[in-house]
Symmetry: C2
Subunit: 202 residues, 2 copies
DNA sequence: GGATTGCAGATTGTCAACAATGGACACTTG
DNA sequence: CAAGTGTCCATTGTTGACAATCTGCAATCC
């Protein structure tokens, strides 16, 4: 992980690593994951690996079949993708509307740090890092809401959007879109912020 | 379980039982669940119980804190509940719209069976059974879509709505609402069916 | 020849023992 | 007496052994 986030438990560390590999297409849809392989690779027993599988299944990145193990999930079909976009927009705009008046300078400063990471990833053309920081940006917004359950609601939807997907011709657009969101927030322009957010989610 | 559904794995059976107890408020928000207690109760080791905990966590019924175990989740806050309603409506109307032209006689016949269960539950004033069959009804609709991933997307949202909640003054209303959905489907009236579905989800 | 059965290896499912963690409460210390 | 420290116990986290299940392939039968 390029971020120095602290994962408290063994399964979380394993899940974080595997998530990164799925989102970066190092692991492709349909690829099987073997418990023993991974337990040897991470130097743990099969228990924590199974637990990590469970977390990633919940996030929609892996699919589990009893007695047959887990595989990397397929991308949402072309038919379902617009639904996922709509769901994610619904949640994120709900949260932004809800917290808008209570956004603190600390919040903005934290989001700016992430924006800087996004900018760096764009400039060095590092798609994997961009995916990671893009996710962190939106995650940070969701997490600033009081109701922590919103994150659990949002995560599986957002993950399904981030899987093996790249809609941008110019990678720098990602930076511009996120900057536009943050600029509008800083200016206190709620309508513009919501519009910028919706534009970014597609 | 009053239905004779077949659960293939041990964890699924345990999860089904616990889910029923959470949805029927036998287990209340904040109640802790102990691995050893449940493993003794179900006559298995702690492994399958942990696995069941993971499934229910993913569905939003339980909340997991590392090194501290799981508790029954809180109801969605009054602020978040409208969002959950909107998300569930979005998914279910999307599915109904999408499958409408391809609904078979077998589908309708199966849904009628569930409607009969709903009617029976209403008439005998059995709220727990009603919750179960209400869930089965909507689940059946979601599952008739080709994209099986939709169910995974829908479930955590629907579960959050079903937790310890009863919006109806007259329990028979539930039967009437579901009957109205099915009548509209039988009549081939898509608009009416979608409207009836939205009315039922609140 | 094509379908069915039976085996063998690989893989997941379950278990019970042991390790690590966290919280309560008594104890020391200033 | 208040703040901090240590110990114990309940509980979860991790492990490795063993059981059950699935998959592919070869032998058998019609």
């Amino acid at each position: 992980m390029s971020t120095s986030e602290i994962y408290r438990t063994l399964p979380e560390q394993i899940a974080a690593q595997l998530r990164q590999e799925v989102l970066s297409s190092k692991l492709k849809p349909g690829d099987p994951l073997r418990e023993v392989d991974l337990s040897e690779r991470f130097g743990v027993s099969r228990g924590p690996v199974r637990e990590a599988f469970r977390q990633l299944t919940q996030q929609g990145l892996l699919v589990l079949e009893p007695n047959k193990g887990v595989r990397v999930a397929q991308n949402p079909s072309v038919e379902v993708r617009p639904l996922v976009v709509r769901l994610r927009r619904t949640i994120e705009t709900f949260v932004l509307k809800s917290i808008f008046e209570r956004i603190t300078a600390d919040d903005v400063s934290y989001w700016e740090d992430i924006l800087a990471d996004i900018k760096a990833a764009c400039e060095s053309n590092d798609v994997d890092a961009l995916t990671e920081h893009d996710l962190r940006f939106h995650q940070a917004i969701i997490r600033s809401h009081d109701d922590k359950d919103l994150f659990a609601l949002w995560q599986p939807i957002a993950m399904r959007m981030m899987m093996h997907y790249n809609r941008l011709d110019d990678i720098m657009d990602s930076y511009r879109e996120h900057k536009r969101i943050l600029d509008a927030i800083r200016a206190g322009d709620k309508t513009a912020a919501l519009d910028a957010l919706e534009t970014n989610i597609q």
